[in-house]
Symmetry: C2
Subunit: 138 residues, 2 copies
């Protein structure tokens, strides 16, 4: 999958590239380039932050990673490999993230796009609110 993508574009494999890919796939959270870099540095010291950025972008463009924002300023990445499409519910206080999927919403987006003569490429839906533990007890 990554291999064929690389081959098609005359891109090469490399130890670091592999290390970054597998570290990323091992992650279970929506990760920042810096966070991934920090984790990576334990096993593979010497990998530069720029390289992490470069490879995350690459993973994103071959469909293995997806960039989301989740409200912070730094971009976050999640894996799109064996991970169905979904949207996010984010706690605006503690940052907790819940993934959800609503097929009716998906369907309606399709229909909105075509109603306005757009060819749908992607969408981002983030719901922000307070989770149960952060809500003031009142």
């Amino acid at each position: 999958m990554l291999a064929s993508f690389l081959a098609e574009r005359k891109l090469k494999k490399s130890k670091r590239r592999d290390a970054i890919l597998s570290a990323f796939l091992a992650m279970e959270t929506h990760v920042t380039a810096e966070e991934l870099h920090r984790v990576l540095s334990a096993e593979h010291p010497g990998i530069g932050l720029a390289t992490v950025y470069r490879n995350l972008k690459l993973l994103a463009s071959c469909g293995l990673a997806k960039q989301v924002s989740l409200g912070g300023k730094a971009a976050r990445f999640e894996h799109a490999f064996r991970h169905r499409h979904h949207d996010h519910l984010v706690c605006s206080r503690c940052g907790k993230v819940v993934e959800f999927l609503d097929s009716e919403i998906e369907r309606r987006q399709e229909s909105i796009a075509s109603r306005h003569d757009f060819t749908l490429e992607s969408h981002t839906l983030e719901i922000h609110g307070l989770c149960g533990s952060c809500r003031p007890p009142r």
Copy 2:
């Protein structure tokens, strides 16, 4: 509306503040801080960019402005005053923006939030795709 917000927080009025507010409300597009600053400079030369940022943030926090992203790197602002809530359909090539509202989607978001015990505060939904004029004729 702005006045009462200012009063509550011991904030003051000022000529520049008013100028920024009215210039912003006169805008019909989703505007960037820099763009607003440029427009503003024609009538009120000498207003600093930082001041535009400060006041846009203020307008946002009192509910007169809403920050959206629309895919670019710079934050964009639209007015939320006499402007019903809506979401955006953005052409990923020419940047054209269509506003839409789907009450069923809105309703479902509510229900998703409460199903996960979240108190809904806001949401962002952006659909990206190619508009009719940008779609290659095939």
